[in-house]
């Protein structure tokens, strides 16, 4: 019995000592190695993702070149969407963070530094140009647009387009020579793919609502979609565009153009079907290439086309959700100059190319080359001039979203008819 007590006390003392040491260590941090500037970067990536690997290498090189700077990275993963704001409210030292451009600007602008002055300066890696001229101007514009005050609060990197990603080999085998521009052409393509023995289309629970959002937005524009979901009276669901949309998708389901498992796909199960070569198309961001690279290998023949137009619709293929990931700098950052220099270092020249290459993504500086997998995505990107919000507005009401997603899943898996779908929405 004495033994137990002694053991307990021993354990407690060691553990307390350990915890004491540990917290001291993390507090004391870099002060021992003489670093003068300390930056803390909270990342949206998980440490195993290629973006993380590339960013880490880039940051390491930056620290080697600037020995008095020490950057601490915290790999948050996408949980950053929930953890960052409480931590910022909390006054935790976080100098730099990143997430989707739209999300960082709309959610966290109040915590971020206005970067306009920095964008107008030149840096070592910008070839004598001002920073804003050395990178994709459209994205800087987008950052200003989202901020609603014509000032950029974020540094974009890793641009993406949200469009149909498809397997070019399937299209060739099915003898589809041109990518669909209209919904009718899309249906023809589906039929050809089906005849050639492929499943034309799939999606996952995570993205299923984007199909609905895009389709409705092609008919009526995204602002209408936002009104549709936010309207508590549900009157707009009786609109003809909704019925047509639902019937369009019902047709896909009855024709067997959708994967059998579309109703039960838990992300990224559907994406793995694309990788496995059983399904041809998937509405997703250009990041899809990277996310399933582990299964496809680099030789997979990727194609991209913008969401087709619909008859009598208002929006063309020039409208899509596009954007980028983006860094922000804390407005309370003690060394904003150094922080911005780091971001410049990562988003221009060598590391811009390197991050794009390693993650099969798009470089943000106009001069760098796009990965070969994204050749078609590049032309889609260049043709865009109207930006949709995420999922073209269908997610504007978080309360309604799960219900929409569930009913739409049933529509796609053939459990609901178009009419039943509309009934379920009211």
């Amino acid at each position: 019995m004495k033994g137990l007590k002694r053991l307990l006390i021993f354990l407690m003392v060691t553990m307390l000592a350990l915890s004491g040491c540990a917290s001291q260590n993390s507090d004391a941090g870099g002060s021992d190695d003489g670093a003068k500037v300390e930056l803390v970067y909270w990342s949206m990536w998980n440490s195993t993702e290629p973006q993380a690997v590339a960013l880490e290498a880039g940051i390491k090189e930056f620290m080697e070149k600037n020995p008095d700077v020490k950057v601490t990275i915290n790999w948050n993963g996408r949980e950053i969407r929930k953890t960052l704001q409480p931590a910022l409210d909390n006054g935790q030292k976080i100098d730099i963070w990143d997430e989707d451009l739209e999300r960082v600007t709309k959610n966290w602008k109040a915590y971020a530094l206005n970067l306009e002055d920095y964008l107008k300066k030149t840096y070592d890696t910008t070839d004598g140009k001002r920073y804003e001229d050395a990178v994709m101007g459209s994205l800087i514009e987008l950052a200003r647009y989202f901020s609603e005050e014509d000032a950029a609060y974020a540094v974009p990197y890793q641009p993406f387009v949200f469009a149909f990603m498809y397997n070019k080999e399937h299209f060739e085998a099915a003898n589809i020579t041109e990518t669909p521009k209209t919904w009718d052409e899309f249906l023809v393509a589906c039929e050809k793919l089906k005849t050639a023995g492929y499943v034309p289309l799939t999606t996952d629970d995570a993205y299923i609502d984007t199909l609905l959002g895009y389709h409705l937005a092609r008919y009526k524009g995204y602002e209408w979609v936002e009104t549709l979901v936010q309207d508590k009276t549900n009157a707009l669901w009786d609109d003809e565009a909704v019925l047509k949309t639902a019937e369009n998708f019902e047709y896909l389901a009855t024709q067997g153009y959708l994967s059998d498992t579309v109703g039960s796909n838990k992300w990224p199960a559907g994406q793995q079907d694309i990788a496995a070569g059983t399904v041809s198309m998937y509405l997703n961001g250009t990041w899809l290439v990277n996310e399933i690279m582990g299964s496809t290998g680099p030789d997979f023949k990727w194609g991209t086309f913008s969401y087709p137009t619909v008859e009598g619709g208002v929006d063309g293929q020039n409208a899509a959700n596009y954007g980028s990931q983006a860094f922000q700098i804390n407005k309370n950052c003690e060394n904003p100059d150094v922080a911005f220099e780091l971001l410049v270092y990562l988003t221009t020249g060598k590391w811009d190319t390197e991050i794009a290459k390693q993650s099969f993504g798009v470089p943000v500086s106009g001069t760098a080359e796009w990965p070969s997998q994204l050749n078609e995505a590049k032309s889609v990107f260049e043709n865009l001039n109207q930006v949709y919000p995420w999922a073209a507005g269908i997610q504007a009401d978080t309360d309604k979203l799960p219900i929409i997603a569930e009913a739409f899943t049933k529509l796609l898996s053939g459990q609901f008819t178009a009419k039943e779908f509309i009934e379920a929405m009211k």
Binding site: K82, P86, G263, S264, D399, A405, S413
Partner: protein
């Protein structure tokens, strides 16, 4: 016995203090907060905006919250039914003089010691998979086409799948409690019943069940508490956004307070607090109802 005031204070103080800080103060503040619109969890009281019962009203109008409460009730009722009947069945089998009792008991209890994240992932990514899933494989080899074609993770099945997986893990714990209680019942009761010509079923309903009343009461309270805290399984089954089949009040509150995964939303910490108050009231009510219905009458044995 001699009372020593100083000793009482020294011995009680840490526990009382921890109770005040960790339970009393936060509960009172949460109850208070549920009457205000609070944008950020860290906002000072001066930034709170009094809205009366509006938060509760808002919850009542929120279809997602209503759905989450329905799920909670279903988890509590159907889950409870499954868990208690299976646990009771296993405990009766295991206390009837079966061989390798401790081995069986240990394996059935095993899921309780493993992290729910690990267990949930096993179920979600393997058992219920519509491609290489265990259920699909088993039914396929038995040529049960309808069962093979069930898509366990589709919107209309996911709640059932979630419930099965959750119950699988919970049965062991309640089984142990039932077993201990059954083993406490003197064998002479059963011997007398056998002499009187009672069959197994009669012995079970006339002796075992009535004597387990107290244990049932404890178990129902424990089950209510764990149902109300239902969170991590939902997270594992729907990691990205809440979905109607898996959303629970805890998940709803998490989204309310810390924001949604994908889109920019209004956060309202006050509504999150209101969810907390509602759940607390449910637990209290359950506690009162079960104590009343299953009044403890002392059996002497």
């Amino acid at each position: 016995m001699k009372k020593s005031k100083s000793m009482m204070i020294i011995f009680l103080a840490p526990a009382v203090l921890s109770y005040l800080i960790i339970f009393l103060y936060p509960s009172v503040r949460t109850a208070f907060m549920s009457l205000f619109k609070v944008e950020n969890i860290t906002d000072a009281v001066s930034k709170w905006e009094y809205v009366g019962l509006q938060n509760y009203q808002g919850l009542q109008e929120s279809s997602l919250f209503v759905q989450s409460m329905k799920n909670l009730v279903n988890i509590w009722f159907f889950g409870g039914l499954i868990v208690f009947s299976m646990a009771l069945l296993f405990s009766v089998i295991l206390t009837s003089g079966i061989k390798y009792k401790s081995f069986y008991r240990a394996i059935i209890y095993l899921p309780n010691v493993v992290s729910a994240v690990a267990m949930g992932t096993m179920w979600m990514q393997y058992v219920f998979s519509s491609r290489y899933g265990l259920l699909k494989g088993v039914f396929e080899s038995l040529h049960l086409t309808t069962l093979t074609n069930i898509q366990w993770t589709s919107p209309d099945m996911i709640f059932i799948s979630l419930l099965i997986a959750y119950c699988f893990g919970m049965i062991g714990y309640y089984m142990l409690i039932f077993m201990a209680a059954i083993e406490n019942i003197p064998t002479s009761f059963y011997e007398a019943a056998t002499l009187a010509g009672a069959n197994i079923w009669q012995k079970f309903t006339k002796i075992t069940l009535p004597l387990l009343k107290d244990v049932f009461r404890t178990n129902i309270v424990l089950w209510t508490i764990s149902s109300v805290a239902f969170f991590i399984w939902s997270q594992v089954f729907s990691p990205l956004n809440p979905e109607p089949g898996t959303v629970t009040p805890m998940v709803y509150m998490y989204q309310m307070v810390f924001g949604n995964n994908m889109v920019v939303t209004d956060r309202n910490v006050g509504a999150g607090a209101a969810v907390g108050v509602i759940l607390t009231l449910i637990v209290v009510a359950m506690f009162a109802i079960t104590s009343k219905l299953l009044k403890s009458d002392e059996y002497e044995y």
